[in-house]
Amino acid sequence: MNIDYSILTIITFVPLAGAVLLALLPDRGRIQQWGALLVTLITFVCTLHLPSHFDYTAPAGSFQFQENLSWIASPSIRYHVGVDGLSMWLVVLTGLLAPLGVLISWKAIDNRRKLFYILFLLQQVAMLGIFVSLDLFLYYAFWELSLVPMALLIATFGRTENRRRAAIKFFLYAFIPSAILLVGMLWLYARTGTFDYPQLAALAATHDISSSPTALWLASLAFLIAFLVKVPAFPLHGWLPDAVSEAPTAAVMVIAGKLGLYSILRFSFGIFPGQSHRIAPLMLALGAIGIIYGALMALVQKDLKRLAAYGTLGHVSVVILGIFAFTVSGIDGGIYQTLNEGIGGGALFMLLGLLYERYRTYDMREYGGLAARLPWIVTMFVLTSLSVTGLPMLNGFVGEFLVFSGTMQSTVANHTGWTVLATASVILTASYMLWMIQRVFYGDLSRRSAQIDAMDLTAREHLALWPLIALFLFMGIASPVWMRAIDIAGANIATTVNRSQAVTVNMDASTRNGPATPETALASTKGTR
């Protein structure tokens, strides 16, 4: 039997099996850490099967490594998993970040290790499940699952006494839109009788889901808002700074970005292409504003983690901007930038976590002059900052450049203005990153840094950071390795959305007084928000 048919199931459920295993193992010594490390490494190795066996000649829009079994006959729910160029590297990235997260939590998590690693593995199961599910119901199960371990991680392992509030805020922000998402999914099922994504996408392409533009609008908004909160996009990011500043490093590394962004690309664009195109002017605006807003907020933070949180908001907004431009460059760049956000943001949060382990504070004012003492950490920190800042030859540049150049070529309304505004972030991002470096590492030794005699990177920490640093470089100079698969998916998405637009424009021309002109569409969006 060919492993290709079950590889995704293996990838998804190895961490689950690992969680069960950890539950059975005692919480003594370093058993939990080693166990979690082993499980995550196995998962990661399994994920590498995907790129090495990916068929680049497969027709656009098709899925690979599919497994499609009937789960519940009525209502028709199937166990349907598969990946394409959009999700493949996200699965690999999720696989890679997990062992690094274990390594970085090795000493940082010292109480209730068992609970921590079990939740951590469950979180991984949920993320992998989201990326591979092609059945909406299955997807939704993983989507809901992704909330619980994260909320518990924040509530249990948070840093300050605010952790519960942060966890609840995170949970409610994510849970309520999810409920609306569920309603949207059920409506889809009621209309079409299927939860299967490829079938739904095919129906959407032929405009056979519903003839009621209003209903389609509402359903598309139910999807989009749930995803936007998860991303999070401005101004729905209220949960992010609190959750980030409380959550342990390993959880923060995966808290934002990829799940929501992937879901928009897959489901919003795939099932509601026309509606997505209609709302694009608004989304471009929110993307560009989010970029600048995140950067400006980062500029005035005193807490390192909050700074990084607002930086994250800016970076996920870059993706929002790029994908809603509906050009191939913009979507490709957006997907690439989603990976970059995971890698660069992950490295940044890891480094901040390392500093916290040594100096027990995230307050920038307490730092200073560490460069001479911690040469390795400062080197890694500068490299990470340069990647986040988008310096050419590092990964961030490729994504950012494609996004902005793609937005510039867009046909969406006001795209030039938003591109110009968004591009101004290259100044602001450099400002807050360099400012942070200077305050933490340069100048005179602060009192706290002088009192605590911390050591530079340990071997374990080197091991956790180097893969990401190496990826900065490789993804910066050899982007086609990743882009080849991404481009197939990105071009397909751009075609799908733009084609739907061409058709609906014609429909509009014939039904000029219909309810779904762009103006009313926008008005209805604003009303809902």
Partner: protein
């Protein structure tokens, strides 16, 4: 074939960077120097070989070489490709010569200058990194790879300005340089986005041949692109309004100021404008902006340079001013003259900085000219070589600066630009001021009474120099580059002697294949006019010399008297027109206040967090949910979830008949 080895030119220094950057900490200093110097030297040798290959009869006008990594280009998506591709044509060949040769000389000098510094390995690693990116910049065959070099040299500059990172002023200066350059990059990036939108590529040859094939394209989007490129060039080449970073960049070690902030990196903007001249030629408006920026920068920086006391700051403002000349040249369509001045300036300004470094070295880190004086007998080699540099920049024939500056002034005078004569006049006045402030520096440093104290103790830690006791001449490894550069400052201008003076303007002919389409001179001018203008500029330079002689040698102290009679004006200029303060108070502080108070307070506090759940019709219900959740166990979420799921399934199963249709 040369094309096969082209990639070695940048990659050799990169290898040096990698070795020193990773292992340098543990290696002995001589080995570190060897690892840094040998690749640079080899790159220079490759350049010489390339030079003879391309000068040979029948040689192609350009050599192209593509590189693939793991069988891939650099960026490749449907509709856009960018490669690691290198091209050498005559313009690049000239720039390569400047970068590799001046670069090597400065590496050599640094071995002596940095001999007693902490972080020796780090310095050379960064210096090699700079060489790599600068070579990529000039070798690039498309805008994107040029941008790689462009950003990379900015990074190297950031690291080297902040080399003494324990000093707050150095860390600040590095950050400022990077951020101000990023403002320029903002323009450069937008220009590239527009280029992609209009041409679908960033390849020089494709874009420029497309423009050449469409003579009907005048102004319009080309003006927009050109102006955005000017923003980028103004950042990198320290022009108004983005020049503010360069004077502060003097916080870096002096060899860095010579290499990066005088000879090579800051000329990248001029190189870029010259490289894209096909585009600029179509937009008289953009060219006019370039010319005006250049002239204004030249005269403003010269003004400030006249009253500075720090020897390196005088040279820094002088650099800004000379870069203004190059901008002016490009703006009047005299790209060749601009590149010619770039060449001679690289020689004499590198020389001046290195000589200033030698002075600072002799005085154990003293940079204030008020505490110098009478040094000509104590450090004779430095004195004589620096004299060559001063005479060259002052524009006194037959040294290098005269020919290139005079060419620029002449081309401004005869340019079709409606304010060409005014630009010429501004350039001429600046020439007089240049001569004045350079000879002021010369007299204050080397003549008059000795105003310094002899240090016999060790150097101040972390400071940009070091003493071994007493005022002393620098070692041969530092004076040798000075001598070579002095020689080049003398003869470097002879490649561009105009016909009016009996020369052949070899550099014009050499660059003609690349820069031929410059704005044509419409006014027919005889050699007589050209000679007359040359005489005028020499006279102006001599007046500057004479003024400095009177004020700072014959009657020292009179200058201070004049300054006292115009206190307001003097303070205005001495404080650099308060530009830094204006930027701080008008842009930076309001932006931070806006972010902190409006965004952080109003938007984040009220709108984002408030609107989330508190507001709206569902607020009350949710509020009770929150309260219940807070009072209870967090794990009850699982229960809520199960309950919800059960409801969902119930609705799914029975919903068909109820309401979902």
């Amino acid at each position: 074939m040369p094309a096969d080895y082209l990639w070695l030119i940048p990659l050799l220094p990169f290898a040096g960077f990698l070795i020193n950057g990773t292992l340098g900490r543990r290696l002995p200093r001589p080995l570190v120097s060897a690892i840094a110097l040998i690749p640079t030297f080899l790159s220079a040798c490759l350049w010489i070989w390339l030079w003879f290959t391309m000068k040979a009869a029948g040689a192609p006008e350009s050599i192209h070489s593509g590189i693939t990594l793991f069988g891939n280009s650099w960026i490749s998506v449907s509709g856009f490709h960018a490669d690691f591709a290198l091209t050498v044509d005559h313009l690049t060949l000239l720039m390569l010569g400047v970068v590799t040769c001046v670069g090597f000389l400065i590496h050599l000098y640094s071995v002596g200058y940095m001999a007693h510094e902490e972080g020796y390995w780090r310095f050379f690693a960064y210096l090699n990194l700079f060489m790599f990116f600068m070579l990529v910049l000039v070798l690039s065959t498309n805008f994107l790879l040029l941008f790689v070099g462009w950003e990379g040299v900015g990074l190297a500059s950031y690291l080297l300005i902040g080399f003494y990172f324990k000093r707050d002023s150095a860390a600040n200066a590095g950050k400022k340089a990077f951020i101000v350059n990023r403002i320029g990059d903002f323009g450069f990036l937008l220009a590239m986005f527009l280029l992609i939108a209009h041409f679908g590529t960033l390849d020089f040859s494709t874009i420029f041949s497309a423009i050449s094939q469409h003579p009907e394209w005048q102004g319009g989007f080309l003006t927009a692109i050109a102006l955005l490129l000017v923003v980028g060039a103004a950042g990198k080449s320290a022009q108004i309004p983005l020049y503010v970073w360069l004077p502060d960049a003097m916080e870096g070690p002096t060899p860095v100021s010579a290499l990066i902030h005088a000879a090579t990196m800051v000329t990248a903007g001029i190189y870029m404008v010259a490289r894209s001249h096909t585009l600029f030629d179509r937009s008289p408006y953009a060219l006019g902006v370039v010319a005006i920026i250049g002239a204004a920068t030249a005269i403003m920086a010269a003004c400030i340079g006249m009253v500075q006391h720090d020897i390196k700051r005088v040279l820094a403002y002088s650099t800004v001013s000379q870069l203004g000349y190059m901008f002016l040249a490009c703006g009047v369509g005299a790209y060749t003259a601009g590149v010619f001045h770039l060449l001679t300036h690289a020689f004499f300004k590198a020389l001046l900085f290195l000589a200033a470094g030698s002075v600072i070295h002799a005085l154990s880190g003293e940079q204030d000219m008020r505490k110098m004086g009478g040094l000509r007998k104590r450090i004779p080699v430095t004195f004589w070589t620096m004299t060559m540099g001063v005479v060259a920049i002052a524009g006194i024939p037959p040294l290098a600066g005269f020919f290139s500056k005079d060419e620029i002034l002449f081309r401004a005078f005869v340019s079709p630009n409606p304010i060409g004569k005014l630009l010429w006049l501004v350039g001429l006045i600046t020439a007089g001021m240049t001569s004045f402030y350079m000879f002021r520096l010369w007299f204050k440093t080397f003549f008059g009474e000795e105003r310094f104290e002899e240090h016999h103790d060790a150097h101040a830690p972390g400071h940009d120099a070091h003493g071994h006791g007493g005022v002393h001449e620098s070692p041969l490894i530092m004076t040798l580059p000075l001598m070579v550069l002095a020689l080049l400052s003398i003869i470097g201008g002879w490649v561009g002697v105009p016909e009016a003076l009996g020369g052949h303007d070899e550099i014009g002919a050499f660059l003609d294949p690349v820069l031929s389409n410059g704005v044509q001179v419409t006014e027919v001018v005889g050699h007589g006019t050209e000679l007359g203008l040359a005489v005028v500029s020499v006279v102006v330079a001599l007046i500057g010399l004479f003024a400095a002689y009177v004020l700072y040698y014959k009657k020292p102290g009179t200058a201070a008297g004049y300054a006292r009679s115009f206190p307001a004006l003097y303070h205005l200029v001495e404080n650099k027109f308060y530009i830094d303060e204006i930027y701080q108070n008008i842009i930076v502080t309001p932006l931070l206040m806006f972010s902190r108070l409006f965004l952080g307070g109003v938007v984040e506090g009220a709108a984002v967090n408030g609107s989330g759940f508190a507001a709206g019709a569902t607020a009350r219900g949710l509020g009770s949910l929150v309260r219940r959740a807070q009072s209870g166990n967090i794990r009850s979420y699982a229960g809520w979830l199960a309950l919800g799921a059960a409801a969902v399934i119930a609705v799914m199963i029975f919903g068909h008949s109820l309401w979902l249709h």
